[in-house]
Symmetry: C2
Subunit: 345 residues, 2 copies
DNA sequence: ATGAAAGCGCTAACAC
DNA sequence: GTGTTAGCGCTTTCAT
């Protein structure tokens, strides 16, 4: 029932030439190999006529290259990562690659399974925002000269390609703004696992800003929120922090999900932002322009991250992963502080 | 430099058996083909030892099946579609498929290119939320018995697999709620292209509700917003609709992007929801729980849509697209009206 | 200016 | 129980 697909052999036969010749022509190597213009025309005509499409599987098998790259993120339905995905897809297409997108749900074994699966599928290279704590899996990839680039999160002490932002400075800038506005009891809501570099660096930036401003770092104002149970825990912790004995006057939300949870609770309690409490968040999202008040945030240059990631990866793929560990690229991009109403008294 | 990949031949050689035998064992057909337990053990041991991974390209080429499915949506960074993507990915993985996700940006030629590209890549089947106006491209797919299922949007008068919601009834229910609350001058902000079934059906539902309630349908209250320039146009149109001579008292936003634009403008103008004007939107998003006031919306059962779509597609793939046109499945799921503060006086 | 043949890694039909 | 052979569709080396 299913009509047989036209193959290169069909073209060759019906034209009375060899497969070799047809292959050369359709790969635009006709001139180089001295195939006569006339024959080339005939081949192209037949290709159109029979509606021939090369079989990518066969080509990939033969060439050992699939022209597919893989993207692994922790949650594709999170606005930050879906924007990453959209941009990566665009640049990848431009370079002739297709994209397989996978979402790990912050589940480490699942991430490992996905990495192996994509590798087994002969995917040419990987772009990964990893939840891994150590570099074991990636050591393996490097040993196999398998091309990959980490984005968003790096593994401390591990040399690999990486594209991300300066989370320390981004946070520092945001906090200094807050402090300049007169806020001096600033709580930070981090998210577990806090070992993830982006989160950890943001905590470091927070501490640094406090210290540089002569404010005390009080570890009771640092709360760790489990990533799979954000809303209830934020609520509970926030409640405590608002008691008279703590009486914080500002919150630094380490990512947009945390910020959203904070807003929800503060609304519920009729606690006014920024009069009663200021709010600043990492990751700018559209939503922050719409809330009352609008929310100050630290924006990441998503397009640039994606562009650089693809460039680095393509480079790796083209050189067949033949870079020594010392030549791996670490690209750190600047963030952008967007000041809105939530931090202005 | 790149270490040669271990192939089935390496396993066979090092064990002194045939490739066939190895192939049977690793595909769990050892018992069926009467391979001795002992030999099977030896094979598996060697597989572990050499860290052998089957080459999917070769397998796909041989089997004529890639175990990849494609998902095409108009904008992966839109929350509705990124949720669709996440869910489809989950179900697909469960069934042993990988997912290639593509985003068309509502660009019809691009959509056609992507469809052809995926088909050429021997992707086993497609799930598409299409922007096509007519069925030409899909007629071609059907002629080739190429498995696909439309989601979210169908092509009127075209018989194909489809999974979506009852947009007419969903809208109708929402509007009736609005009308029961006493709102009687309800504007609708549609989005272009309005020929897209989901949008068109929502407009129909809107009209139906007005008529059934004895309200006049006034075509001046139906505004079409270009999808690539939502905010400025919404602003402009909303401004006009709020003039004394029109003085609408409620807005039906045909999707979440429009609703967001409306909220932004109303906030800006200090126009109170729902006191000055009520707001209801199609597509529930997290954001609607966070705004002041919270926003009433028509929710789509995303998980169910994805589950059904995968089931239908898998069925098509397994039967090799051998269904006649009359057996194509059209699955229409119910929506869920979530009443929040934005429509309650 | 063109073609024959080999082989990428795998599975299935058919031996023995 | 196990092996031989053929072939999926393509590209490449080496001939002619």
């Amino acid at each position: 029932m299913k009509e047989k697909k036209i193959s290169i052999t069909d073209i060759a036969k019906s034209l009375g030439v060899s497969k070799t010749l047809v292959s050369m022509v359709i790969n635009n190597r006709g001139d180089i190999n001295g195939i006569s213009k006339k024959t080339q025309k005939r081949v192209w005509a037949k290709v159109k006529d029979l509606n021939y499409k090369p079989n990518m599987m066969a080509r990939s098998l033969r060439l050992g290259k699939s022209n597919i790259i893989g993207l692994i993120v922790s949650d594709i339905s999170n606005s930050f990562y879906s924007k990453i995905a959209r941009n990566i897809e665009r640049y990848a297409e431009f370079k002739g690659y297709n994209l397989i997108i996978c979402s790990t749900e912050e589940d480490i074994p699942r991430e490992i399974r996905l990495i192996n699966m994509l590798k087994d599928r002969q995917v040419d290279g990987l772009i990964i925002s990893s939840s891994q704590k150590d570099s074991i899996v990636f050591d393996g990839l490097i040993k196999d000269n398998y091309p990959f680039v980490l984005i968003d999160r790096y593994i401390p002490g591990f040399k690999s390609n990486y594209v991300g932002v300066d989370n320390i400075k981004g946070t520092y800038d945001g906090l200094m703004h807050l402090i300049r506005q007169g806020y001096d009891k600033i709580a930070v809501f981090a998210i577990t696992p806090t070992y993830v570099s982006s989160i950890n660096d943001r905590i470091v930036g927070y501490m640094k800003a406090l210290i540089d401003s002569g404010l005390n770092y009080n570890k009771n104002l640092l709360k760790e929120i489990p990533c799979n149970n954000i809303k209830p825990v934020v609520k509970e912790e926030l409640k405590k922090l608002l008691l008279p004995k703590n009486k914080i006057n500002a919150i630094f939300a380490i990512n947009n999900s945390i910020a959203i949870a904070c807003i929800e609770y503060l609304n519920e309690m009729h606690i006014k932002i920024p009069e009663d409490i200021a709010l600043i968040s990492f990751d700018d999202i559209d939503f922050f322009k719409l809330t009352i008040p609008t929310v100050t945030s630290v924006e990441q240059p998503i397009e640039e991250i994606c562009k650089q990631a693809i460039d680095v990866l393509e480079n790796e793929i083209d050189t067949n992963g033949n870079f020594s560990v010392n030549e791996k690229q670490k690209i750190i991009l600047p963030t952008n502080l967007i000041i809105r109403r939530s931090t202005i008294k």
